[in-house]
Symmetry: C2
Subunit: 151 residues, 2 copies
Amino acid sequence: MTTKRPPLSDPTDNLLGYHLRRLSVLIMADLSRSLDSLDLRPTEATVLMEIFTNPGITQSRIGKILSIKRANMAPLIAGLVEQGLVETARKDGRSLALTLSAKGKRVYKKVMSAIAEHEERCFALLGKRERRELTERIRELWQHLDTIEPG
Amino acid sequence: MTTKRPPLSDPTDNLLGYHLRRLSVLIMADLSRSLDSLDLRPTEATVLMEIFTNPGITQSRIGKILSIKRANMAPLIAGLVEQGLVETARKDGRSLALTLSAKGKRVYKKVMSAIAEHEERCFALLGKRERRELTERIRELWQHLDTIEPG
DNA sequence: TATTGTTATACTCTATAACTATA
DNA sequence: TATAGTTATAGAGTATAACAATA
């Protein structure tokens, strides 16, 4: 008495790219919800982490690391400055050195624990060791693609 | 004499979700390019696969399988019909049974080989067995998340 | 000349809401 | 009352192009 059956065979079954996409979408949605209470989007949170770890880093450098276009970095940083999380200082006539304000550092800590909970929730099926190995493997895959591909 | 150094430590290093996202973005870009000559986007190609494998399937069923909203399925299917790839027949007063036209089946075959080349290119670092195991693991992860999460 | 940052803008993808028709 | 399909539309995210100022 089943009224809804799954297809006998699913053509996406063996497509690794497809499953990576499905997983990535769900992870991003979970991450967005995890950051909602901090009023940050995933990209903004990642930028905060980048600035905390590398104080004085420039916009363009962050953009290169995270593959965010200059044109999109500008309003992103402007928003973080307006929220009082990031402070800018002239590095030279062109570049801005970015640092976290006191508030930015407090928010950064909340970001870190929110992300830790998020990863724990999303990857509960994996042991710590398996998680580490998978992370490394996935990194190798995208960095290899990144060198091969146009852009 | 290095003018551009990477940051001493990257805060994203241990974030599995981050690396999955980076990989997924590059894979989607590669897939889009792979399908360019067929005038199909990744979602359209996946829908073709779904219809080929499950002839007579309905729009709503495809939407549920692929997590595409009804409102977005309508123009998607309309586009495929307009391209002469998909044919519709009344199943009952509400539902449309979808099948591939002769042209649709020819294009489907090209889609399959384009995707095979694409996966070969993206996952060249992985052996066949590793690829299978990783696919299964990733599927488990997203399907688990899918049952847990809102939506 | 190349780089940094900025603005304006367009395109794609996805989400919501309202509606019709049918089960 | 729930489901299938459609339409209109709004919001993110990301892309390109053009520009000013500086290295």
